[in-house]
Amino acid sequence: MKYGRVYVEDVRVGDDLPSLVKGPIKQIQLTRYAGASGDFNPIHQDDEFAREAGMGGVFAHGMLSMGFVAQALTDWAGAGSVRKLGVRFAGLVRLNDTVTCRGRVLAKTSKDDTHDVEVEVWAENQKGEKVVTGRAVVRVPSRA
């Protein structure tokens, strides 16, 4: 159900969002993300720089993983549905890591014609370690 659209009537508290698997992360994607985002911090490009900075080598932009989490939300609820997304970068994503984005519905609130769904979101690496944790609010339509 790619590029989905959910209706408020179909959402239940406790529902799991469809998971989204991204990666394995390659250097070229970090270089491409640097160009697209304007974040040219060498810590994401230059392994020697990242080692000297005490980070044990290159790691992905946190914002790239946040972009994955946003994609998981919009693949489920539709483009333009995200009203709020807040995350903590809980762990580093390394080259060749696979990032799986997940989510769970925490609450639904409806007021007049506005229906908001609050979601717990997170992303984990291939070892099951959380690299991103957060919350989001998506606005969804009603079938009525």
Binding site: Y33, F68, A70, Q71, V82, R83, L85, G86, V87
Partner: protein, 151 residues
């Protein structure tokens, strides 16, 4: 090599700056994330959408940088450098989608600095907020950034 940050930066407001969103930059960003949603990439789908054009992905406003400013100035203001900073937290509040051809005004300020000692030693957390308004001065997005500085 413990150091401290210049806490007088708290409350500082940076000069507002304008950003005009280019259609190609939205598409480049979506492709870089690997998000091939047609509402971001396909002009025909955008035209037929409720927004009348393509829209940007939720995290796109992170690209709104002040091209006229020295990006290292903020780190110098703090008294640190790029090898010591990490992105700790990020939040977006989105009131309406960002669209190509629109010019937005961004206002950034430093809200808070606090220190904690973590597994890897003393760290400072710098909280900034950027407010993005459109041509009619309505807020379209608010970004909250938490930068972690290894002291």
């Amino acid at each position: 090599m413990a150091s401290t940050l210049r806490k007088e930066v708290v409350g500082k407001e940076y000069p507002p700056y304008a950003v005009t969103v280019e259609r190609g930059k939205i598409k480049e960003f979506a492709r870089a994330v690997g998000d091939l949603n047609p509402f971001y990439l396909d002009d025909a789908v955008g035209r037929a959408s409720p927004w009348g054009d393509i829209i940007a992905p939720p995290t796109f406003p992170i690209t709104f940088r002040d091209e006229g400013a020295d990006t290292a100035a903020f780190l110098r203001d703090l008294g640190t450098d790029i090898s010591r900073v990490l992105h700790g937290e990020q939040e977006f509040e989105l009131h309406r989608p960002i669209q190509p051809g629109q010019t937005y005004l961004c206002r950034a300020k430093v809200l808070d600095i606090y220190e904690k000692t973590g597994r890897s030693g003393p760290m400072a957390f710098v909280v900034r907020e950027t407010t993005v308004t459109d041509g009619s001065n309505e807020i379209v997005a608010t970004l909250r950034h938490v930068t972690v500085v290894r002291l």
